[in-house]
């Protein structure tokens, strides 16, 4: 039977704390994976553009393998694989059993996967910054760290942001996969609430709506960031 709206609102009240917690888990998962992915992406882009051949090869292998294999497969491989590997290691060392929780596995996997996509985005953006900027920073006597933080990074972000924005949108939606390895995120919670209240469709649609709100909010923030980092470039033409 189709639940009436008032019935749905009544059940919604009962499940609200659970659902809010699910949204919070999803947000944490997405933001922590974003952080890990950004760090890996910067390191990967550095390795791809470095003069050392081994690093270039490693980074190439990383991005090719990760982007050629489905994210869900990698997630299962890392979740089950890490668990088996760790339990063998702890048994061999005689330590206590270490359990990997789905949240850490999710952050590690999503960060690791999207790090490969961020690597490509950052690589392209770094190449778009004119070489003269590196040389000018060096000529002014800035250290490598100073020239990266104050000269290269702000300029690179302008080129990287559209790509990063796309990657973030894909990452945000990929967090839904982590419910498959048992994390009580928004999707899982909506399923549980829907099944126990016999209003599965309504709760699934609600979860979809939350994702829609999150992506719309991301769009607004990304637009603001893009305007901010484009500031120095647009000013002359105003």
């Amino acid at each position: 039977m189709l639940p009436t709206f008032s019935q749905f609102v009544a059940t919604l009240g009962a499940f609200a704390p659970m659902l809010l917690h699910g949204v919070w888990i999803t947000l944490q998962l997405a933001l922590l994976s974003l952080l890990l992915g950004l760090v890996l992406g910067l390191l990967g882009a550095g390795a791809k553009l470095s003069g050392v051949r081994t690093w270039r090869l490693c980074a190439q292998l990383y991005t090719t393998l990760i982007r050629g294999v489905p994210d869900l497969l990698l997630m299962l491989l890392i979740f089950y694989g890490l668990q088996t590997g760790l339990s063998r290691l702890t048994a061999w060392l005689g330590w206590a059993y270490i359990d990997i929780d789905p949240f850490s596995a999710g952050v590690l996997t999503l960060g690791f996967i999207y790090g490969a996509y961020f690597t490509e985005t950052f690589r392209g953006a770094l190449l778009a910054v004119p070489r003269g900027q590196f040389q000018a920073a060096k000529a002014l006597g800035l250290t490598f760290r100073q020239s990266f933080v104050h000269v290269i990074f702000p300029q690179m972000m302008r080129f990287a942001l559209p790509g990063l924005g796309n990657n973030w949108m894909v990452l945000l939606k990929a967090t839904a996969l982590v419910s498959i390895i048992g994390l009580a995120d928004l999707v899982k919670v909506a399923q549980v609430a829907g099944k126990s209240s016999q209003q599965l469709l309504a709760f699934l649609l609600l979860a979809a709506l939350v994702y829609l709100l999150l992506s719309s909010a991301s769009n607004l923030i990304l637009g603001w960031l893009e305007r901010r980092y484009a500031g120095g470039v647009q000013e002359p033409s105003r």
């Binding site: 299962l76 939606k173 999707v187």
Partner: protein
């Protein structure tokens, strides 16, 4: 490892003895949803770029909904959500359709890829050089003829690089099918893992299969771009 391959190569590639499984199922899911999605996206992309708001806005709403939410939730809605309604189960036709996991999966995948493809094609239609359209008009092309002979062939060619991304994305998304009990490559790998505890080997075999399909698709699209996008190179 050899035992694992001996026992599981058949379901991994084409059949477990009862139904199509593994690689064959993954390829079928990918091509069927892409085919349906493209068929749907052709008219929708024209509507998306239409001058009429009542044509443009509904399509924009559709792509916004399907691109703004995870495919996994869409699959859950089509597979479990809709069938949980008694009204659907009481209708013989709807009941027959939504009872089959494969139907729900294909419907969700096709609607999802159609939304992305619509935006890709609409972008290519908008990027058509005005001069080409004016030239065609001056030669007497008008209305649907303009679309059939000029705009759509050109838009399809120009969107090839973006569409290749979508195809690989769709291939990777088909792994979700196992959550709806459809026996694709990942489902077989999971069964192998559960039965043998050879985690790295089971998922590794599946990963090799997916990597091979990805590389084959990338190669095919490179050939296709050389064949159908060559005319853009000449102008440079």
């Amino acid at each position: 490892m050899m035992e694992l391959i001996q026992e599981y190569w058949r379901p991994l590639i084409y059949s477990d003895g009862y139904q199509i499984t593994g690689l064959a199922m993954t390829l079928w899911l990918t091509s069927a949803s892409l085919g349906l999605g493209l068929l749907l996206a052709l008219p929708l992309s024209i509507a998306r770029t239409s001058a009429h708001r009542w044509l443009r806005w509904p399509v924009q709403g559709y792509t916004y909904l399907f691109r703004g939410t995870p495919l996994y939730i869409q699959l859950l809605i089509f597979y479990t959500g809709i069938y949980s309604l008694a009204a659907v189960r009481e209708q013989p036709l709807l009941d027959a359709f939504f009872r089959e996991a494969l139907n729900c999966t294909l419907l969700a995948f096709a609607l999802n890829t159609a939304a992305y493809t619509t935006e890709i094609l609409a972008g290519a239609i908008r990027a058509m050089p005005r001069g080409e359209i004016e030239a065609a008009r001056s030669l007497g092309f008008d209305g649907w003829k303009l679309y059939v002979h000029l705009i759509m062939p050109s838009a399809l060619r120009r969107s090839l690089p973006y569409y290749s991304n979508e195809v690989i994305f769709m291939l990777h998304s088909t792994t979700l099918a196992f959550t709806a009990t459809v026996p694709d490559i990942l489902k077989v790998a999971r069964d192998a893992n559960a039965a043998t505890f050879l985690t790295f080997q089971s998922f590794g075999l599946a990963a090799v299969l997916y990597l091979s399909i990805t590389f084959a698709l990338v190669g095919l699209f490179r050939l296709a771009e050389r064949r159908w996008l060559g005319f853009l190179e000449a102008g440079r």
